[in-house]
């Protein structure tokens, strides 16, 4: 028996979750923001969160990203130094993580971009925030990232104001991914864009997520987005998670009545 190679089991045990959420609750006074949310997110996995307006999706995302302080629960992130609860972590450390290991893509690019600063400066800000002090290197990285999100390099000195909505959103994505984060939070990344631009953006996002091995949490009410991007899906209603599972499984065989309603209400063209 001693000759049996157990290394394969060692590998399985090593697969610790990147983000582990336990019993997360957030109330706004007497109203429930989100209640008793628990899930694990593994490295390289994309989790979709869907639900109607007011179902607590954005509240949950804000709690995870440290923008809001949850009332209860743990958000344990696998840092380079081992697992840490980001809820009780010092603010300085949480903010440092927010600009290195994490990224947050806002629904409205104006919330995530500095509108008075050129595209290159927007992409370079995170680099400079982590200590880059070589202008030419910063600029070369910015040009590279603008290329990756399909923005022509001669637009590098234009301000985001001069960009279309889709370009602004792509710029926001470049700005967030430039420091090579491991976890990306996205709040309706395709909201407010027209359908053909949405398709291109999704294509781009899918490529980047796969290529960089990112883990992502995507909040959306667009089932097409999760079908395309998410490995796993969580359905929320009234602050509670009513159903979760593999994306295809949830969408093709919805169990909860609300999920069934959601899936059946998608227009088939």
């Amino acid at each position: 028996m001693g000759a049996v190679d157990l290394s394969i089991w060692a590998n399985v045990n090593e697969a610790t979750p990147l983000l582990s959420v336990q019993g997360l609750c957030k109330n706004y006074g007497a109203r429930v923001g989100c209640a008793h949310v628990s899930f694990d997110l593994f490295p390289g996995e994309v989790l979709g969160i869907v639900g109607e307006s007011g179902s607590g999706k954005s509240t949950l995302l804000s709690c995870l990203a440290g923008h809001l302080k949850p009332d209860q629960g743990e958000v344990i992130f696998q840092t380079a130094q081992g697992p840490r609860d980001t809820v009780v972590m010092a603010e300085a450390e949480r903010r440092r993580m927010a600009r290195t290991d994490w990224a947050f893509v806002h629904q409205n690019p104006r919330d995530g971009l500095r509108m008075g600063v050129s595209a290159g400066g927007n992409v370079g800000e995170r680099l400079m925030a982590v200590g880059a002090r070589h202008y030419r290197d910063i600029r070369a990285t910015a040009v590279d990232w603008l290329g990756r999100v399909e923005i022509a390099s001669d637009r590098i000195d234009d301000r985001p104001r001069a960009f279309s909505g889709g370009m602004q959103q792509r710029l926001q994505i470049a700005r967030n991914l430039v420091t090579g984060p491991r976890l990306v939070f996205m709040d309706e990344p395709t909201g407010g864009l027209d359908v053909s631009v949405q398709a291109r953006l999704l294509d781009l996002l899918r490529g980047l997520v796969r290529e960089m091995g990112l883990s992502a949490i995507i909040v959306t009410h667009d089932l097409a987005v999760v079908r395309l991007l998410a490995d796993r899906l969580m359905v929320m209603k009234g602050g509670h998670v009513v159903e979760q599972g593999l994306t295809d499984q949830v969408l093709d065989d919805p169990q909860h009545s609300y999920t069934q309603l959601l899936v059946s209400s998608v227009l088939q063209v």
Partner: protein, 299 residues
Amino acid sequence: MTAHHDATLADSYNFAYLDEQTKRMIRRAILKGVAVPGYQVPFASREMPMPYGWGTGGVQVTAACLTPDDRLKVIDQGADDTTNAVSIRKFFQRTAGVAVTESTVEATLIQTRHRIPESALTAGQILVYQVPIPEPLRFLEPRETETRKMHELEEYGLIHVKLYEDIARHGTIATAYAYPVKVEGRYVMDPSPIPKFDNPKLSNSPALQLFGAGREQRIYALPPFTHVVSLDFDDHPFEASKAPHDCDLCGASDSYLDEVITDDQGGRMFVCSDTDFCRVRQEAGHLGAMAVPNLAGSA
């Protein structure tokens, strides 16, 4: 302080205009500023009998520091004889009765707007700056709560974005005044709108440097021999720039110059912005290209 009154003073004023409790409050803010170099200390700025932008912050700091034995010098853009300098000097002559001078070397307290004197300052001197906007991050991040948080957590990536934008637009760091500095490796500070030519003089100065912003209600300080670094990029290092000329009056090649238009035919001359420095040099016999020897007094 009534002991220091004399017949020439307007008797209705306390020494140096401000009441003693206000001076006490300002001195406490100054002490805190000195203890934490580069940190902006809030203080309860008073209404002064001059408009905001005329140096109400500097005047309050000066008033809190003045003693009857002080010798005051006031400069505005390097000059002793411009409106702002003259009116503030007169103000303190009237309300404090202190001696005044135009000589940098003789002054014990110098209130300045937008310049550091050319001649080196010495131990025991106090240099008071008038500051319009003390927050170096203001035009990049409009939220005061956020900029305070950034100072607290030492998140200064944004200040380099400003320099990045300069290079991207102009090919070089075009910020010529109010050039951001880092104090003792900790706080990023706006050195008030002095030309960046003066930035190196901030560092390791034997004099005490105090900054007062009246409208924004902030005081900050550089104690003597504080290490101050001007921010830059590795491949675009900081450069203390000036007009590539010698002074046309005193011939100085190492002083900061003003360009003066002399006629409508394109005539111009470059003169030292520090009038005291220029006068002393001319009296010592140094003459520039356009100097008239008789006017210099010594030739």
